[in-house]
């Protein structure tokens, strides 16, 4: 499994598209949904919310030790300081990577994910392969994804089994001591905040604006 859904043949895809149109138009007729509102919701999650929000949280924590302390003690409130919140972000917890602890986030039962700071989850995060394996063999999965961990680094896997949502605070890359907050935020990838990657190294030139 994994990758795309298996409705990619044209006929099946058309059937699904028609069924969804039928349901939406019936619900609109009954006054239960407003198609214009759905347009706005989709636009919000495609354009206004995404990993750039989480990257701003991480970069702020890297440069401001007071903010970092608030973030680790009450993540929901600290994230709200930057204006982020909403569904799937009501009860946030931030977990910090160190040289000896690596954190990674999953939801084995569905695909819970911190929408206000990361946007909607990628397909791999929702895949049976990731959900089944990351709790059982996190080192192997992380190595397959390009993140081999040293033996001395413990792994903490956070299975989002209730309404708490997790964000990983990655380690600040070496060689960024003089960097400004916006420059740092550009190093923070979505996957580094899920815990399946680390931030971009500062010497990757295409990321240095």
């Amino acid at each position: 499994m994994g990758g795309h859904h298996h409705d990619s043949d044209d006929h099946g895809a058309r059937d699904i598209a028609v069924r969804v149109e039928a349901i939406e138009s019936l619900l609109a007729e009954k006054g239960l949904v407003d198609p214009a509102t759905i347009d706005e919701i989709v636009r919000y999650y495609e354009e206004d919310v995404g990993p750039l929000n989480g990257a701003r949280v991480v970069a702020r924590a890297w440069i401001d030790s007071g903010y970092k302390e608030r973030l680790l003690n009450n993540a929901t409130a600290a994230i709200a300081e930057l204006g982020f919140g909403g569904p799937a972000g009501e009860h946030m917890v931030v977990v910090e990577n160190t040289p000896t602890v690596h954190n990674v986030v999953v939801c084995t039962l569905c695909s819970c994910y911190p929408w206000p700071v990361l946007g909607l989850p990628p397909t791999w995060y929702k895949s049976p392969a990731y959900r089944s394996r990351i709790v059982r063999e996190p080192r192997r999965v992380l190595a397959e994804l390009g993140l081999p961990l040293p033996d001395e680094c413990d792994v903490r896997v956070w299975d989002s089994s209730a309404e708490v949502r997790y964000l990983v605070l990655p380690q600040r890359p070496a060689g960024t001591a003089s960097w400004r907050e916006e420059e740092l935020a550009a190093l923070v990838t979505r996957d580094s905040m899920i815990g399946t990657a680390t931030p971009r190294p500062p010497d990757e030139p295409e990321h240095r604006e």
Partner: protein, 217 residues
């Protein structure tokens, strides 16, 4: 319920496939399903349970938003909001990917409403951070948020949260019945036996009634 959705620890799914530069949605219908569920999906616990109730073949074959579609359709049918005949009749005249024209530019932007699941309780939490607890052999036919891989396992309370809406009841219209929530850490070897990778701990957020104090050793 013991269903295919409860995937933690299952074997056989192969490597994690990553799509480069993946878009937020892959098709218009995914966008519409996502939006419909945000507006008309109702209570999140019942929504999750309606996905769990899909048959396992559908669950695996239809993809994430395909599951959302199957689940919202089922709930609309069960609640009598729409009938199968209405959907079939409307589908005969519906045009897929129908254009509605450009969005109105000057409309106030939609913003999501936040809804805390935390509730106040007058009783104190039964467990404290650092305490050893064991999960019950809890396997109801209905909704639960105790994954099968963490049943009958011993862990340590890492954090005591506020009381929160209890999904096992809320999903079935039995009220919110809030309970304290605990983050509990389980050593890899406790969950996976001798095959566990070294130096791993899995944390789960578990409701008070899933837990009992560990017997003294």
């Amino acid at each position: 319920m013991n269903g295919i959705h409860d995937m933690g620890g299952l074997h056989g799914f192969g490597e994690v496939e990553v799509e480069k530069n993946e878009p937020v949605f892959h098709a218009r219908w995914e966008r519409r399903v996502f939006g419909i569920v945000q507006v008309a999906g109702g209570n999140i616990d019942a929504g999750r349970h309606s996905i769990e109730r899909l048959d396992p073949v559908t669950y695996l074959a239809h993809g994430y938003y395909g599951r959302w579609l199957g689940a919202i359709e089922r709930r609309l049918l069960e609640s009598g909001v729409v009938t199968r005949e209405e959907i079939a009749a409307r589908a005969r005249s519906a045009v897929p990917e129908r254009s509605r024209g450009a969005p109105v530019g000057n409309r106030a932007s939609w913003r999501p409403a936040s809804a805390s699941y935390a509730r106040e309780l007058t009783v104190e939490p039964a467990f404290r951070a650092g305490q050893s607890v064991t999960t019950r052999n809890h396997q109801p036919a209905g909704h639960t948020r105790l994954p099968a891989y963490a049943r009958c396992r011993r862990g340590v309370v890492q954090r005591v949260h506020s009381a929160m809406v209890f999904p096992d009841d809320h999903a079935h219209g039995r009220g919110e019945n809030p309970q304290y929530l605990y983050t509990v850490g389980f050593d890899g070897h406790e969950l996976w036996g001798a095959d566990a990778e070294r130096g791993t701990v899995v944390y789960l957020d578990l409701f008070e009634s899933y837990l009992v104090p560990s017997a003294a050793t």
